[in-house]
Symmetry: D3
Subunit: 242 residues, 6 copies
């Protein structure tokens, strides 16, 4: 029995509020149950120095957690003067995941920064961040394309992410904090529409896992990502209707 009472393949309620903040070219607040992440896409007409003259753009991610997003207050990374290894690892993952669905040549010499800031955490913040970042990116690119009618869409598809794991011996989908902190195995999957895998990060916290369990988690993840893709489409549509 999961702490939340959910069935093994049951996800938390997903809510995506597009346009949550107004200055960013694209933004949303994404909620996976009690995990709330504010995602913004900032478009800048400049690129990192090492990309200059290559006729392409760049997409990168940054991640932060408000000090009291968690059960007990954590130190503010800006005050400590450095970002933790965990933060940097997540930032790199967000960037790679979103670049997997962007044709950087079509984007042109522009940079889009996806800022994912966790307002409230209850497990799965990095996967919510990736899933929300896609919505912010889509909205920012839609705006860019409205302003540049001749531009071809640089986004090649959807990307979403979910964490699955082995909780008390059973493969379960969309771990919350209570499960995540005690799971035997925790695996994050990043997938594109159609089911291709962009990234797998699986860690055995207690016992090593085997091929069969890996496949079981992979199938749960595929099912979960399909639900995320639907929520993303709905959010983008709502943004357009306003």
């Amino acid at each position: 029995m999961r702490p939340s009472g959910r069935a093994p393949d049951e996800m938390r309620a997903i809510e995506i509020i597009p346009g949550f903040t107004r200055h960013a070219e694209g933004s949303c607040l994404i909620k996976f149950g009690e995990t709330h992440v504010l995602c913004t896409a900032s478009l800048e007409e400049r690129i990192p120095p090492w990309l200059r003259g290559k006729g392409q753009g760049w997409v990168t991610g940054e991640y932060g957690m408000l000090p009291r997003a968690t059960h007990t207050r954590g130190n503010r990374e800006a005050a400590r003067g450095k970002q933790s290894g965990r933060t940097q690892e997540i930032q790199r993952l967000i960037g790679r995941s979103l670049r997997a669905v962007v044709d950087l040549g079509k984007l042109g010499e522009r940079q889009i920064t996806l800022d994912c800031d966790v307002l409230q955490a209850d497990g799965g913040t990095r996967t919510a961040a990736i899933s929300g970042a896609w919505v912010a990116l889509r909205l920012a690119v839609d705006k860019l394309m409205r302003e540049n009618p001749a531009m071809q869409d640089p986004i090649t598809g959807q990307v979403g992410a979910i964490s699955c794991g082995v909780y008390q011996g059973t493969a379960v989908c969309d771990l919350d904090y209570a499960e995540d902190s005690t799971a035997d195995t925790d695996a994050n999957f990043v997938m594109v529409g159609g089911g291709g895998i962009v990234e797998i990060q699986g860690t055995a916290e207690k016992e090593p896992f085997d091929e069969e369990m890996l496949l079981r988690l992979l199938r749960l993840a595929r099912m979960g990502c399909d639900r995320i893709f639907a929520a993303q489409v709905k959010a983008v549509r709502e943004a357009g209707e306003r």
Copy 2:
């Protein structure tokens, strides 16, 4: 004529959503028009080393701005590895302002940290932060007092803050970004219920100002703080009704 079309003594709409996040002992999202600040109060049963053995508690503030809270994206302070002088100045102001209405002896050997994180900025973020931090503090202390029925209330009154200034020669109340960035004079006032002044920070951005103008700004500020005090009371009452 103010850019927003407001009358000189007209404030922006104030909205305070108590309990905006769930882990903090007290929290609210405070909105002054398009300025949105998430304030949380975190209670810890420990005190800074230099206070040990003095039989009193501590109240401190921290402040942050999400990278894309502003019109153009700013660098993430955690990534740059240090907090700006502006951030530190505001943090110190938040702490001093809230301590002005707390009896640290009655608080006991506890620390309350007020985290004020700007989700969206349109001028007046530090004054909104102080005004919202009081609500978060009040909710956290109410919770603490429910758990410690014998405890005396350490909060001695309300504290609120507002920025007033001279815009095109006229004294105006509650500057937004369009005014703030071009004002002749910009002054932040922190006041307690009853009208006592806790802090004044007035800066002539262009021409020096005189005693008469200072008094005019002070009166606008007193009027504004009264409205803030009412909004704070309403928010705390709503939190109690849930």
Copy 3:
């Protein structure tokens, strides 16, 4: 009764030694009683990147305290690897205050850095720093104008600063450390010749203060600044006579 035996409106002895160090374009050692600050003005024929092409100059301030300027030794900020919030706050104040009396267009594409280093501290270091920085600035600009006879004077007037406060219920002028550390209210005033206010920073350390007290402090400050202006003029004249 003030710890020093001074009357409420009595300032400490002011001494300004112009040309205290020889490499800087302008310099002085300013003493307010036992508070001694070395102020240097360094002129550079370059401007910060964000000012390029605007046809104007820049004036900025830096502040430091020698580790044993104080009663007990403090850590060296260079060794700790960062400047405290207090230091940064003061640096920003020095820069704003001096820019209030400089026409940056007339200065041309040059930067003047005002370094204020406290050799010995006894309260009021930031106001002494501002008052001394003006002398260093004046001397540096005089030198510049001698070398560029066609140049118009970019300095529009004098600026001085003083701290006043409420000590045991009485408004007093020019707080020393014994008063500053126990004052009810502490307010720093930066003023220009003629009495216009450039900056007010007032903080109630214990009880909030009211409008009447604010005005009383303001009047003490105006009187004090007049004495500072006279001492500045005298120091500049002495420098010229050598």
Copy 4:
């Protein structure tokens, strides 16, 4: 055709020189072809503060790359003043991987730090680091057990790691730099003796990959780890014979 001319399932020559440095409790130089990593295990009779009183030990990893281990010189992380996100990610992976085969309770209140420093890099440095760290750990624990005859062996098995990937459409084992930098997919596998999976980190650099390809890589990895386990056993035996 692989750049090195190797068959898809052909690994590079593995060489492990135990006892490469003399001060560490355990050490080895591990070579996967032209990738050379110096691994040391340092035993300390102390534990991190957050583990105190829990009656268990800790195993952690650190990773570094000499500035000219690579084709072009990189900046020294100590000089830049911070470790890159990549370095921190690898350090965390090394620590988790080795802890997977240590019974921290049996280790007792001791910490073992596994330092993995890359002397020469040609792809696969993190997997070589993990594979070599196990040898250093084994030697350090053997020494500890000789000194504490009553101690039970805290090491529960072997752990090894290998990178596999998709190069020009074909699944290949043990990527070198020429392959790694152009691979379609790159996946690192950490496995224990018996074939259980401790960690999978798979990234699609170009096209997303599917379940079938994931399984193919997994099987290559299992085969590769078996060879690594044999090399580890041989190295530990050689160390014992000296």
Copy 5:
């Protein structure tokens, strides 16, 4: 011919003003011509953690240069966030030099920090710092011994330092900046009363030097240190007479 017109063995005028600042247990301003260094000795009744329980004290040095002590303004080390290699090298030298004349056991469990801050630089700042630090140390220990009449004097002798070098082929004593920046060889000597050598740091900036030249510099240094010892004694006597 030396730029200053001095004879090869002629030193600059030495002036030592004892008690230049008032809070430190001992202090002086030392001038070697236009090189001015403020030296303070701060006594603390605590020792570094690694000395605890050894029944001895510690003497350490810190060094700083005000940003405009030099011909052109340098960056403030506190603002850059780190001390230069040069600064650290000098700090270590100051500490070692002064410890050479202190019996740390007789000092007892106390730490004396010698802060040497350069107000104005014209070559030879590190040697002036060492020579002045001894005066500050002597004054602080005299004060300590007056307060602890039973204490034995922990200072075993005088220490002084001077820079000599080869300027245009000639061995000269007490290099100023004009010489230092173009010298063939620059050597700093730290000596104790009686002529024993505590430290030699000689660097050939252009041509290597030979044994004979080394001896010639050594003899100039011995003569120079004798003059420094006399100036130190005079300054300590003056301090006592006040």
Copy 6:
């Protein structure tokens, strides 16, 4: 009697393995007994900004110690976020020493960085680093000259370094850790072929030393450097024969 049983003028076995790593333009592993330092020379076709347009090149050194090169594990400098004063002092010494035998004009607008990383430490790491860096430099320049046949050799001679000291009253050559940590006096000498002195750094750890002892150490150093020069020549010849 020396701890190692060596005679006072007996050095440890010197071994230099040229080409120890393959990416660097020049490299060697140098061993002085149990002190092992990996030296690489990296050639870059760029120069530091402050040298631009002067038609000359630059040679610089960096130094690091692996965390467990020593008897007890030290913190990783990259993790602490700064290099120690000792590290910076050694880096500066390596750069100065090697520049003493390079004609920077003949080098042309190129930079050579000499990275000296201590794999195992037993005293004398800085002198081994300098001695090995020369071999790496020589090999890198030989390669450069083969690629630029018209280039004149920028290397003007050999440079080597050795530490001598006073151990239990006797002058001894090539201190190992057991001697170094208890020596009365420790002096590092950097010399060029022919016996010219480039750098002397002598420190009295206990008793001051006199002129006679300095000369005795200098003669031991000269003898030691001759042996180092021979080992350097042999290593360069071996590299050429491969």
